[in-house]
């Protein structure tokens, strides 16, 4: 359960990295089936699961695990070799073995490494300890090259979810615990099965200083009931009880200063890891996820619904022109931007600006009494050809022999050409001519001769 949950986040990071390099595997909008399924987190993970399969995730994952097992095996061998080396190295010394020397051999290096680890943690070093070494190894080793992208994605998830630090700590402490455990077991076996003699030896310390040092070094084991072997008894080298006590004390030292702190730190690291594991969530601030979230939010809100549908577009049917007509008229529809009418309109009767319903009715009534030979309508092409205007032109059409439309606006305006096209399309449906102002004189002359 825990792994499979983590695995989904890992897949998301893997896909995210791939897409950052090679572009989107599929547009965010394509994941439409996932849009209404759960939170952004789960939808994103679903997408990643599907897409990671395309990238050969399963095969790579198997390989990744195989490589991790190989690495683990290497570390186990290292642990056994180093652990037994620690004990064997100590017990191979010429007898009697100095207890001070034994103390530093068994736990000194561990305490030093622990201190270094602590400094690295406090300084927030990128990949501290044995765990960091293992990751560095897996990133650089040629054998691991094929799964490098997976390791990077893994590292990214671990980092973003604040899992890396406890995981690396757990790896470091686990390694040292296993190493010291091996050493302790071997020491126990060797001390149980063979006879060794120990002594307190020093060159520069006085007897009193040595005794004091022995007390300090044996402080923790003493709390557990393992007193340091008495100085005098060992110096005389006769007391079998003292030798026994020395052996047991060494085992206690290794436990107290080596294994116990590592075990404690391992438990703390694992508990931290477990608690952060439970809080796994996608990082909304990650640019890739932010863009995806935005895109999905938009799609999810695309629930536009029709609440009042169109019953069907009404089509203006063109009417036949009048057979006879008299007089040439000009009018401005809706408004007249020019202060004076152009020269071609001088011989025409101007009906004024026809803007309201009553204006339109008046014109239609006038034409109804006497159809015109030509009606020129000046329009502002920058206005939309709305139904009201088109209906009026349709009503004028049978009341004149010729209906001409001309633009009244300056032509150098933004969008002018697009607007003209709209009017032309609307007028084409009515069968009405749209005339350029420059052609108007010829058109009017043609209208007069006909």
């Amino acid at each position: 359960m825990g792994y499979s949950r983590f695995r989904r986040y890992w897949q998301a990071a893997f896909v995210r990295d791939h897409e950052a390099h090679h572009g989107l595997l599929e547009p965010y909008a394509e994941a439409t089936e996932a849009l209404h399924q759960g939170s952004f987190n789960s939808r994103c993970l679903q997408r990643a699961e599907r897409l990671s399969a395309q990238l050969g995730w399963q095969q790579l994952e198997q390989q990744w695990h195989w490589q991790r097992r190989l690495l683990l095996l290497g570390f186990i061998i290292l642990v056994i070799v180093a652990g037994s080396g620690l004990t064997n190295g100590l017990l191979a010394l010429t007898s009697p073995i100095s207890l001070l020397h034994a103390w530093f051999s068994l736990v000194g290096i561990n305490l030093l490494m622990l201190l270094l680890w602590l400094v690295a943690m406090l300084r927030a070093a990128p990949l501290p300890g044995v765990g960091g070494f293992a990751i560095g190894l897996s990133q650089r080793w040629r054998l691991f090259r094929r799964t490098r992208a997976m390791t990077t994605a893994w590292l990214q998830v671990m980092q973003q979810q604040r899992l890396l630090s406890p995981a690396l700590s757990a790896m470091s402490h686990g390694f040292w615990l296993a190493l010291l455990g091996t050493a302790w077991l071997l020491l126990l076996l060797r001390l149980s099965a063979q006879s060794y003699s120990f002594t307190w030896e020093t060159t520069i310390l006085s007897a009193q200083q040595l005794q004091q040092t022995a007390l300090w070094l044996g402080y923790l084991p003493q709390l557990m009931g393992f007193d340091p072997p008495p100085l005098q008894a060992l110096l005389e080298q006769h007391s079998a009880v003292a030798q026994q006590q020395a052996g047991r004390w060494l085992l206690a030292v290794l436990w107290c200063y080596g294994m116990a702190p590592r075990a404690l730190l391992l438990v703390i690291a694992l508990l931290t890891l477990a608690s952060r594991y439970r809080q796994l969530s996608l990082n909304d601030n990650d640019p890739a996820y932010a863009a995806m979230q935005r895109c999905w939010q938009q799609l999810a809100s695309a629930n536009a619904r029709i609440v009042d549908a169109d019953a069907g577009q009404s089509v203006a049917i063109p009417a036949a022109a009048a057979v006879h007509g008299q007089g040439r008229l000009v009018l401005s529809l809706d408004h007249e931007p020019a202060t004076a009418l152009p020269a071609w309109a001088a011989d025409l009767t101007y009906l004024g600006v026809i803007a309201t319903g009553s204006d339109k009715r008046r014109v239609l009534e006038q034409l109804g009494q006497q159809a015109a030979a030509v009606v020129v309508v000046r329009i502002d092409v920058m206005l939309s050809p709305d139904r009201g205007s088109i209906e009026f032109l349709r009503a004028v059409q049978p009341l004149t022999q010729r209906l001409l439309l001309v633009n009244s606006q300056p032509e150098q305006q933004h969008d002018f050409n697009a607007r003209i096209v709209l009017w032309q399309q609307a007028l084409q449906r009515l069968g009405v001519e749209f005339i350029a102002p420059t052609d108007m004189i010829h058109q009017l002359a043609a209208g007069a001769s006909s």
């Binding site: 990295d17 950052a20 390099h21 572009g23 965010y28 300084r123 927030a124 990128p126 990133q139 490098r148 990077t152 590292l155 990214q156 980092q159 973003q160 601030n285 640019p287 890739a288 932010a290 863009a291 995806m292 935005r294 895109c295 938009q298 809100s301 695309a302 629930n303 536009a304 619904r305 029709i306 609440v307 009042d308 549908a309 169109d310 577009q313 009404s314 809706d334 408004h335 931007p337 803007a355 309201t356 319903g357 009553s358 339109k360 502002d380 920058m382 206005l383 939309s384 050809p385 709305d386 139904r387 009201g388 209906e391 305006q413 933004h414 969008d415 697009a418 607007r419 709209l422 399309q425």
Partner: protein
Amino acid sequence: MSTANWLHIAVVGHTNAGKTSLLRTLLQRRDFGSVAASPSTTRDVVCTEMTLTAQFGLALYDTPGLEQGSELFDLLNSEFADDSYRHDGPKQLTALLSSPAAQFQFDQEAKVIRQLMKCDAAFYVIDVRDPVLPKLQDELSLLSRCGRPLIAVLNFTEGANQQLALWREALAKVHIHQQVSFDAVAPPQDGLEQLFDSLAVVLPQAREGLKQALVTLQQQQDLRRRQAYLMVADLLLDVAAYQRLVVSDDAQQVQAAIATMQQQVREREQATLSSILTLYGFSSDDAHFDLLALAEGQWQDDLFAPETLKAFGIKTGLGVGSGAAAGAGIDLLLGGASLGAAAALGATIGGVYQGWQSFGKRLVSQWRGYQSLQVQDAIVALLMRRQQLLVAALERRGHAAQQPLHLEPMSPLRQLLPQHHLPSLVDQARRQPHWSRLNAEQWQPSRAREQACADLQVQLRQSI
């Protein structure tokens, strides 16, 4: 989610006034409805929801354009002039809606009136480039009889030939005093605030909800800006930390490596452009860096063209590449020498270990006959400026815009861009090749990079 407290707002107006455009910008959705220059583009009443807080939102109704306002107004005054309607506009309009004229001749107008009477208020959208025509005034009189508050939204205020003063006067004459200038293509920074304030005036019961909604929207906007600059910071770190090792006396290899680097940086910039566009609710085709005319009469917007740098006011200065890398936007670093001072400084302040790691690796590479290629500072600066320009432009762009956004170097927005040099974090990235995703072999996510990215984002945001 309960929508009991939601406001229902109709968006009404003359045909082609920009009702759907206004909704696109409000909803920040390029794909909402259909926008065209031709009239009668919207023929149905379409409802869409704008969730603002957990309990509050707007149900916005896009309505067909009014096209026969004058004729309907005349009909109302002639056929429905009963004395009982004199002081009861809604009753008069209800009678009109049940007439045959409303079903046939004025079916579009009937839909608008019907919807408005069901809503709490309406945005009456006006194309202020249009003159104040009697037919438009008739529409206003007609709508004001619906008994619902109308807020005039003055659209296209950024365009030429606007008749804003005349419109304000005309609106006042029909007692519409709630007027908001809101250009759907280039909305004002406080446009939404003005709209919400106007709504709060006419619908005081929704004041609290609108206030909270504004706070939420502001937070969302801040978050979006932060995320956008995070994307830019990510890009800059990737490019600044990008390095390739080459055998320095092999000109062919150097040229090939430079071409690869240039291409990868271009692709990386394009990926950032797309992500930022998506973040702001636009598609990848909605913006491009404007083409620059080169001396030969060719047009291009190449990141690595010297003209591009010049156009963005970036001086390349001395030490621009050397040997085979000259003029390519890539620096061929002479082993430890060119980075020596930086590495030494970094080692002192940033930690001996990291400084040595970078410096030491360079020395080893140099010893082995390799040299390092890096993208020039000028190119990184250009990337920074272009992306900052993009974000600034998108923040001021409405989703109703039909034309792609041209990010031209001479844009007035350029004044917003900082004149100072690259942030120091970019310099820091130079010494961290593992910070760049473009260095596929060395890329390694780290807390330090994440922090640098977050810090750089803050610097970029504050500098504009």
